[in-house]
Symmetry: C5
Subunit: 288 residues, 5 copies
Amino acid sequence: MNLTFIIGFIAAFVLVIYGMVSGGTSVSQVMSSFIDIPSVFITFGGAFSATVMSVPMKDLKDIPKHMKILLKKEKVDINQYIEVIVDLAKEARLKGLLVLEEKIKTMDLKDDFLEYCTMLIVDAIEPSKVRAQIENEIDCIEMRHARAWNVYDKLGSFGPAFGMLGTLIGLINMLANMDTSGGSDALGKGMAVALVTTFYGSVLVNMVCAPVSNRLKAKHEEEMIVKELIMEGVLSIQSGENPKYIKEKLNSYLTYQERQASSENDGSATEKKKGSSKRGRKSQVNNA
Amino acid sequence: MNLTFIIGFIAAFVLVIYGMVSGGTSVSQVMSSFIDIPSVFITFGGAFSATVMSVPMKDLKDIPKHMKILLKKEKVDINQYIEVIVDLAKEARLKGLLVLEEKIKTMDLKDDFLEYCTMLIVDAIEPSKVRAQIENEIDCIEMRHARAWNVYDKLGSFGPAFGMLGTLIGLINMLANMDTSGGSDALGKGMAVALVTTFYGSVLVNMVCAPVSNRLKAKHEEEMIVKELIMEGVLSIQSGENPKYIKEKLNSYLTYQERQASSENDGSATEKKKGSSKRGRKSQVNNA
Amino acid sequence: MNLTFIIGFIAAFVLVIYGMVSGGTSVSQVMSSFIDIPSVFITFGGAFSATVMSVPMKDLKDIPKHMKILLKKEKVDINQYIEVIVDLAKEARLKGLLVLEEKIKTMDLKDDFLEYCTMLIVDAIEPSKVRAQIENEIDCIEMRHARAWNVYDKLGSFGPAFGMLGTLIGLINMLANMDTSGGSDALGKGMAVALVTTFYGSVLVNMVCAPVSNRLKAKHEEEMIVKELIMEGVLSIQSGENPKYIKEKLNSYLTYQERQASSENDGSATEKKKGSSKRGRKSQVNNA
Amino acid sequence: MNLTFIIGFIAAFVLVIYGMVSGGTSVSQVMSSFIDIPSVFITFGGAFSATVMSVPMKDLKDIPKHMKILLKKEKVDINQYIEVIVDLAKEARLKGLLVLEEKIKTMDLKDDFLEYCTMLIVDAIEPSKVRAQIENEIDCIEMRHARAWNVYDKLGSFGPAFGMLGTLIGLINMLANMDTSGGSDALGKGMAVALVTTFYGSVLVNMVCAPVSNRLKAKHEEEMIVKELIMEGVLSIQSGENPKYIKEKLNSYLTYQERQASSENDGSATEKKKGSSKRGRKSQVNNA
Amino acid sequence: MNLTFIIGFIAAFVLVIYGMVSGGTSVSQVMSSFIDIPSVFITFGGAFSATVMSVPMKDLKDIPKHMKILLKKEKVDINQYIEVIVDLAKEARLKGLLVLEEKIKTMDLKDDFLEYCTMLIVDAIEPSKVRAQIENEIDCIEMRHARAWNVYDKLGSFGPAFGMLGTLIGLINMLANMDTSGGSDALGKGMAVALVTTFYGSVLVNMVCAPVSNRLKAKHEEEMIVKELIMEGVLSIQSGENPKYIKEKLNSYLTYQERQASSENDGSATEKKKGSSKRGRKSQVNNA
């Protein structure tokens, strides 16, 4: 479970409700001030309708899938990927590329993209074509991912827009009926109702759409780093590079702390050149 | 028919009208509050006039065409295109490129861009020139499409601008005549009328222009994926690549589910390498 | 004359004035409400002063030239350019590149850029240098054009800014003098005057600057397409390509309808390969 | 002196002050309405403090230098640069590249960048390295220039932000003390004071920061064109191109009028090919 | 210590507090007007919760590290780096690349990135691979740095959003309870409380988030220049270029003043060619 997302979500709602209650006279009164059915329809219904117009049905159907991705604790361990690729590189050096087909199926780490890339080099396709094909695969994934957050960006832009539309409707109705309404108290209540749609629109974008879109983008970026790392690693394996050199190369994808941790996990068993390991440890000590 | 667009459009209008009626005292009163002829002229007329100034006539004349494109149910079946290209590749391998001219005309799938690209390789133009020409064709299509949504983007930015202009006019008139107007009730009515133009502007952008522009862009992106797929496929045919390899290459344009579906449709008849088909099935299981 | 621009401009002004008059009590009263000399100075004067500070004098001096460009009916007929280039290609094939120098001067179509490009190949400069030089020429034109709409973009951003500044000045003066002013009627009038500058700023950007800037950009884009077409055509002539093939290549710059029209104009006289002409006719039938 | 900048600056201030005075009852009253010491501290002080936080000290120290650049009348005469480069090309053709070292020091035109570039070819560095080094030099200049206007962009964005902050502080204080304040007159005065900070923020951005930033960018662009022209010219000299051809090439950086003027200044003395000069004169007659 | 950042921060707070106190009747009254616990929870709590939803936990954990980076006086002396690289180049010319491993460890300047790059050329990896690997390293650093300021950008966009949300809640509560509240004084107090959240949101973005994000970006840019300089220098060393030429090349990263200072520090000891040193001194005299 992606706890931080859920905790953030609950915290935001609790804080806003606390604010609503602390400023009102009683809970029931607050409920009646902030819950207004026509406002719900105009703001949420209107924003959703405009999003349905804007976005292909197919993308809307994926909303449950997006939620699953968001809530899944998908801690990406880049170190593990580097280990795996270095292992594959060692195998390939000893026994040839063909043995990777077997190896990739028996590994602990299940990653379809890694498998896909490895099979390309097993199939002995020429290096430049392998790169082109993996890059195209990554581009296509990127395009599909972008469609995911596009839904929330659109909903998040229509939310406040329909909120304002609702407030305008409320204001016009209130102002046009000023003579028939009962004085300034009724005027205040009318204004309050008019503002509820703006409130809903603001809640929709700031507590749902923007955070979801931001987090999907953040997840996407993490995933893309792994994909790029896999591509570089697999292409290095194909060109028969030294596993130790491959490891150093892929270390660029780690921060200094992660590199150090990785080196320590290696323990004393690996026959590393002193200088090189020290270098790995220290490099980028001052890069965030 | 593109039902989701139409349903979204109707839903948005119904919801907004429901909101208008639910807040007023009577339908006729709501009608009189929200319908104001001079406001219609200022907002819609003004926004349209400014768009006429901004955009070449030619682009405005295409509005009915855009509507037809929007309402057309144009479910793009990428799988079908891959099938067709693989078929063409098989033909070309057996009987040479020239036979494609006949083949392309007798196919079920009618796609002018595919025909255009195929004819280029039938005409035995050299590969780098074919790529350059298809890319130029795609660029030109892209430019023409961009002119389509530009109309709605411009109209959508002038809508609220003229809405605000109208509200300013209303406010200035109202405030300047405060002494001659009949008290706060008249003031309220004046304000209501002034706000109607802002309301119109907001309706224009959020319920018409933005959704239309968004949807045209979404349609364009889908179309561009197909065009790119066709280009890659046709160039692969020209370079005489293995049809099975072409299929794998083009599979990048599919999500995992679509790839799986495509594999199952193939059934047991095709003599596929086990490993390869399984790979196709599983790859990208965790990519949206 | 570019009628749509002028009609749009007049329509926008008529509609706004109609809105002003329809909401007021009398024309003279409306005049006095909306015309305020100090407001004119603050908004238009201020915005123009800030633009003078922002933009080199040279660019401001070109304003009359921009107006001439805007109002000129400059219907670009891409077909005609393609015809001309194909003619030049035929000449060049028969009699060599040198004959183009004569030919270009005796043609109906007078286009300095076409002449410039043709002279480059007549001078027998090597192809890669010709491309580099034409591309540099296009880049320089692009930079100069961008300076044109930059003036209106800047003026259009300072317009509403100085409008708001004027409104702030009006409000502060009004509020500071509340005790000396004569009650709520005077207050209303003060507010009305304060809002006039915001109104002016909004008029400046929405009815002048934004449409002018948009239209200049649209004209620029059309011109760039022609320039690119000329470049591709002239380079094709230099490399001695088949005139028919050049025509097909340049057809990418036309929409389907235009290609069809062009084919029909060719009539039966031209000895075209059936398949090829049909292809030209049908391709892109579903591209806007 | 860059007169237009100074005139624009003075005009904007005079117009705004005229607007302030024309709307008030007396000059002294206007002074007291618009000058409020705490507002000055919050808006200008706050915006400057936030800019100090945002921008390295080094960039702030350059403010006087920026002012000098802004006020310097630095009319760039592109024609003169072309002349000089063509002269250098002629020298180099006759007497070799080494003679340029002497020549460049005795010329009227003093330009360090031109000298820098010329010395690179005098030092007989190979062409591709010369290009790389000049491009790197230009990139570094660009980065340094961007830091200049960044200061004004940041100050210009914090100005209105702190203006609004000040207005919020004023409003909260005023509203919280409504009972102790003396009726609606005092309320009006409180509002007026609150709005003064918004006014200051608007003045800061629209009359100082935005114009300065815009003008620095405009100056930068002009300078970059000259630098690019010098680079192209010097590289052409190194590759031993014909001076006449170099002149034609560099003419791309001129508008049509400037080319014509340049041709006329050449007079009859230069032994130009008729066709070529005419071409130079006419090309781009319709490009702004 | 990065004094300017701290001084700016303190100055901004002092100025805002001065503004708050100067406009109120007494300090205790100001305290009670501007400090409201529920408002704190809604604005800061809400904005932080939404940021927690938007950004991976890992990035939030780095906030103390960002603060340390911000407050660290990290005056980058580009000159020193150039000196060091020129020294390394001289060593390498005399004694070969291998000696650099020892040299780099005994130098005064400790820079992990420089060490990392130097070790790559010591390990005798081929030049094109070295460049690719350093560029990848720089890209990865860039990606990590971008995640740092992304946190503040997100927090800075949610701050005002939740501030407005709080104000809406306050307004709705106030307007809905107009009849039960005690007249216009209570109304004023209610409005004041409602506006406090907007005030908090504005403080959060303008006095914390925006300056922090801006400064992190500025630090990043400075660091990137050094990294690029190191890359160019190390690659020049590997290709065995003349140390003097390397120095001239790297001088592009300095402004004119810095170059001059560097030349003077060299003193008379270095056996420089006259012309070259003079050139170094003068070039770019008119580039900011």
